[in-house]
Point group: C2
Chain length 499, copies 2
């Protein structure tokens, strides 16, 4: 390298004496760049890597020492040098990583391709939206309202629970008696509506889901109510013992005295939570604008969901009956993927409609302080994280009244977790099979399948891959179950009619 250095210096001197460009041809191209324009050189030094760096920097030092930079920085010689050593942005050598625009790209692509699907759908089927038809989903004949009646009846169970707790607090019920009353009360709560839905023909599937949903929620609420009041009694007895030993009256500040008023009970029944508490955090006042915005969202999304179902879901489902009967695998997959998109979008809308709009609306109306109805499940990198964060009221209930009690009873974490999934699976099946009046266990298996899935994702996928896996399981899993049920329902009812 020393030689080339010397050579470089030499030739530079030589070139300085106006020798013709021939001599320059002896040099490697790199060497020649010294002659062009000092500031292009100084510019390069910072970027250029490896060979020819040393003599360049020498060169620049020399140039800096001389006061000729201003001359060199004239227009023409700026024009002459327009390249500098640098990497392409996409090659790993350049540490570039700003792909902000890609998100916009994804959004635009999704919107456009769905606009296309929408247009194709309109061209093929015309407009199928029919809001009136929705009513028929709830009512078979407008003179009997079984669903509504059942919901009204549910008050009985609420009052039974309240009455029992009153007796227990007074001491006129022993713990055992109270426990038995509660158990029977709740057992009836689950069996009675199911029986009615199964036996009364005028209950429509949608009406059935509505009723059983209401009763399930009540069941969970009353279970929590019973537990909490029991814990209060335990606590106060503990305190009483303490008091007996040390007579420091201070310790009684921690006495828990629940109040068994109807207001308290019904506030809990309507409050957007499944976990009873002696005193819920309250928001200072009702924000009217917030309330109205949520109300508007509720109405808007209801309409949108109905419209999309009629225009988008039903045609696909109907068109996928034939392939399902023929067990034509490739076409079934095609139909499944075709159904996945609208189904998923509607699930997202439903999520927002229920967990953000509706629950926040209720909470605002009741000045209920705790608005954490969901956490950031969209970022979940494992299946368990998703199930722990997308439905906080239920998760909270499971944790407080099922998972932790099991742990306290000495069960292992694995067992308790499986038990939670089992419970959830049971209720999923309960809420689907009974209204449809057919027991296929798709929903049950769907929930139980989450356990191996969770194990797989947790062990083999991290970060964005885990997140993607969760998304796929949501997007593909649901429409699969939907198709199964619809197919069976279709076969059960319409095929029989056909025969």
């Amino acid at each position: 390298m020393g030689d080339s250095d010397a050579a470089g210096a030499l030739t530079r001197r030589r070139r300085a004496t106006l020798a013709a460009g021939r001599s320059a041809s002896l040099l490697p191209m790199n060497g020649r760049s010294a002659a062009v324009c000092q500031d292009s050189v100084t510019a390069e030094v910072s970027r250029d890597d490896g060979q020819g760096k040393r003599d360049r920097s020498l060169e620049t030092v020399r140039s800096k020492s001389k006061s000729e930079k201003k001359k060199c920085r004239n227009d023409i010689s700026d024009r002459l040098s327009c390249h500098k050593t640098q990497q392409s942005l996409l090659s790993s050598a350049s540490g570039y990583s700003n792909y902000r625009g890609v998100l916009n790209w994804c959004v635009v692509m999704l919107v456009l391709s769905n606009a296309r699907l929408f247009l194709e759908n309109l061209l093929r089927y015309g407009i199928l939206v029919d809001p009136i038809q929705v009513i028929s989903l709830f009512l078979n004949d407008p003179y009997s309202w079984p669903a509504a009646c059942l919901v009204i009846v549910s008050n009985v169970f609420i009052l039974v629970a309240l009455y029992t707790e009153r007796q227990l607090s007074k001491g006129s019920f022993t713990e055992l008696v109270g426990f038995l009353v509660h158990c029977t009360n709740m057992a009836v709560m689950l069996t009675f509506p199911a029986a009615v839905v199964l036996l009364v023909p005028s209950v429509t599937p949608v009406g059935g889901v509505f009723v059983l949903g209401t009763y399930t929620i009540l069941f969970l609420k009353l279970y929590s109510y019973k537990d909490v009041n029991m814990w209060c009694r335990e606590l106060s007895t503990v305190k009483a013992k303490k008091l007996a030993r040390s007579l420091s009256c201070k310790s009684q500040i921690h006495m828990h005295i629940p109040m068994f008023t109807r207001e308290d009970m019904y506030y809990f029944v309507f409050a957007p939570t499944l976990c009873y508490e002696l005193n819920f955090p309250r928001s200072p006042n009702i924000r009217m604008s917030f309330l109205l915005r949520r109300l508007f969202e509720m109405l808007f999304f209801t309409q949108l969901l109905v419209a999309l179902t009629q225009q988008w879901m039903i045609p696909i489902i109907q068109s996928s009956m034939k392939p399902l009967e023929d067990m034509d695998l490739s076409r079934m997959t095609e139909r499944l993927l075709r159904l996945a998109v609208p189904n998923h979008l509607m699930w997202l809308m439903f999520f927002y409609w229920f967990f953000h709009s509706s629950l926040n609306f209720t909470a605002e109306l009741l000045r209920f302080g705790d608005r954490q109805f969901y956490k950031d499940w969209w970022n979940s990198e494992s299946v368990t994280y998703f199930w722990q964060n997308w439905n906080i009221p239920v998760h909270k209930w499971c944790l407080r009244h099922f998972y932790k009690p099991l742990l306290r009873r000495g069960f292992s974490k694995k067992v308790s977790q499986s038990a939670v999934f089992f419970l959830s699976a049971f209720f999923h099946e309960y809420l689907v099979s009974v209204p449809l009046r057919m027991f296929r266990l798709w929903a049950f298996m769907g929930m139980m399948a989450q356990l191996p899935l969770a194990w797989f994702v947790g062990h083999f996928l991290r970060g964005n891959y885990g997140n993607a896996a969760v998304w796929i399981s949501i997007i593909i899993g649901q429409p699969f179950a939907v198709l199964m049920y619809v197919h069976d329902y279709y076969v059960l009812h319409y095929r029989q009619e056909a025969d």
Copy 2:
């Protein structure tokens, strides 16, 4: 508020003496929370806003002063309070903004919906991919290779340019003569191949595009070559004058002595740039792994592009001929959107294939230092930014040899910019119309339409909206032009055959 405070303190004391829960019912729910559990209170104070804050904080101070927190922090009373005042993540009140998962969602949705389209396509058309057929796009009869011959001929023009510059530097050509020779040389470069493509029937459209593309690139290169050498002469004359005045021999270091060797010329011809420079920045050595990766990408994407065209583009284009003839607007839109997706994806692949893989491959092979062939156009929030950054070689050329010279000649920025777009529009039309042998001006108008579009986006859209607008213009604009040309070509050729 003072009263309620006093009342709170009073009741607290009263409750301390084991009075029954009745008394508590006199209080508002908020007040009661004081009794539950100190640490739940302390927890709330930090979050709870507005009403009942003052007496709470009092309460906590009092609690802190007493040493009873450890007792209160026992299991049961933790169980009892499970809510705290907080906002939902999606409501603006919570400053939450982490939607990392949404990008994964978009990707998954895009992949799934395209998988669906792919499957549908296979089910409908079967496999249409046929690599051999590609050759027929370049050759009509395998015994005449007009495209190849034209490319070989192009060397003549290169050597003419080199010869002219040599004469100019020797001074045996005057500036005027040199200018005239260059002009004729370049005029012929544009007209001659076009004439051949138009007149020789054995030139296929694809072959034609290839030839004209090569000649256009050469044209731009030689234009730059001529300009740069001219500037060098100007500079040296300036220097000579300076020298005459002040005899400081130092100033001659900035003498620019171009060398007119064939190696130098052909290095520039093959180098991945359109702007000539006396000495290009060089990379120190050839990175074999980098070279091979780029080579693999080149081969892979070539195959993929061919396959997708045959399997995806052609069926859609064929199926959209009928609606185009009938001028059935809604169906035309549907077909346009249907074409937009594959067309856009293939454009992206082409971009990567050409601007990243191919140009980097050439650059690595020639140890060409400047790898900036594109900038971050995917983040562009204005149309002008896109055109300035997606194709850097051309942008650099326009800036250096067309835009700035115009400015120096005293034209306004607006005029010069429009002129650049006009030039680009001309070449777009030139590269499409001549090979297709029909002059429809779609490409020309497409480019010129960028001016009003740029004005609109620049004035009315900012940030992500601007970015989205740019994406839409790319995704929708191209297939529109494609459909127009294909339709006209189809009408011109196949319909005539039909008649």
